[in-house]
Symmetry: C2
Subunit: 247 residues, 2 copies
């Protein structure tokens, strides 16, 4: 049995109780590049921890190789946890790994997790939707697979949705802002940059054209960019979240 | 101190560890109409449980009244949990309640939760995003506030996004399907209907035009409708999730 388990945004307290129980039962955990695996390693010492980590811009394990690891591991262990950052269904490449299980007759279950957008919004004490202002929220990524050409496939839906959250946006923040403005998005649209949602990192609020003009901070952790009129009041309110680091 | 806490989609094991800890510390919990509060009531007997439940189509507490309750409760208790279904930032009317806290100088923290779309996708063993097929996912609701006229504000973004999840869709499934097809969405687009995500309820997969033609089941719990090419393989794969009830 393989459990595809969402690890949440980073804070170990934001794992679900089910994720925690399964980590206690697992013999082996195959984990992605999470922000900090050490608290989990320290807690679950019975587990064999194997990194199959992918992370943008760094050396990563090929997806086919992950498939072979899943098959081999399922043959040797009765309780395997495949731990994925955030929620497995959102930019987690879950479908490819479930297909491997199906084609090899491996039973599996998916355990959802807290996605980074929810955590980022909580950190900033904002809401992704706002009655009368935003009745929809889009999660989108400009990231493409290894060997694929970067494209503007993220642009169209981003122009129409009322709230937009760009995942894995760190390397392309300025390009995203420029292209949105060129395509007609208001230069005054509120945006928020969040690094390491639910943990320590950059939390900054701007208008869209600020992203084009200013020097951006260097990011060490995963970055999401949020945009929409729902964040207007966030720009006015003083940040009261505890874990904010000034730039 | 008021904690705005996401209760997740329904299964008590899908609360985060942090939500669980705070429920253990709380003196009073103000909760929305959740699918089943009883397991939590039984667990946390030290807590005063107060329903301020809103739920589509049923008698509900006015949002201004909820604000007054928040203020009065914060004055009397040092640890208040405001428990919201799913994730507080997604269709949770969180902003209004945070504004009440700000204007009354009440300290608060937001604790994110697992949103229903993640749970529904896990139940169906699908993924909301799929490399090469869907690089974005939109959460949208056709629901409007009490006293407001229902409108088609949900339509435009729903036509452009690659995966769409309609929250609080139960009463308007046929209308949504008809209007999407009339506006040019393929009648063959895969759709999934999920009632009580993460718990027992309807789980059905169709094509969009089936929703227009067929008799729909009666729903007792909250319903989400998911649409997109990312669910094509879900339509082909046999359901292996444990908790499926046949119609």
């Amino acid at each position: 049995m393989i459990y595809f388990v969402g690890a949440g945004p980073g804070d170990p307290e934001l794992l679900t109780r089910k994720a925690w129980r399964l980590l206690g039962q697992a013999q082996i955990v195959l984990y992605d590049a999470l922000t900090d695996i050490n608290p989990l390693r320290d807690q679950f010492t019975q587990v064999r921890w194997i990194s199959v980590g992918k992370r943008g811009g760094q050396v990563s394990v090929d997806q086919r190789l992950i498939g072979r690891i899943l098959v081999n591991t399922a043959a040797r262990y009765s309780c395997v946890v495949r731990l994925k950052g955030g929620d497995p269904s959102i930019f987690g490449r879950l479908a490819e790994e479930m297909d491997v299980c199906r084609s090899h007759g491996i039973a599996f279950e998916v355990v959802p997790g807290v996605t980074a957008a929810s955590a980022a919004s909580a950190d900033l004490q904002t809401s992704l939707t706002l009655r009368g202002v935003s009745r929809n929220v889009l999660f989108v990524t400009p990231a493409v697979g290894a060997g694929q050409q970067a494209d503007d496939g993220w642009l169209n839906a981003s122009l129409v949705a009322e709230t937009v959250v760009f995942y894995m946006a760190g390397a392309r923040v300025k390009e995203i802002a420029s292209k949105l403005i060129a395509a007609g998005k208001s230069a005054e649209m509120p945006v928020c940059l969040i690094e390491n949602a639910s943990q320590s990192g950059v939390r900054e609020k701007f208008h869209l054209n600020d992203l084009v003009k200013m020097n951006l901070p260097r990011f060490a952790g995963p970055v999401i960019l949020m945009m929409g009129a729902a964040f207007s009041s966030a720009l006015e309110n003083e940040l009261t979240a505890k874990k904010v680091l000034a730039l």
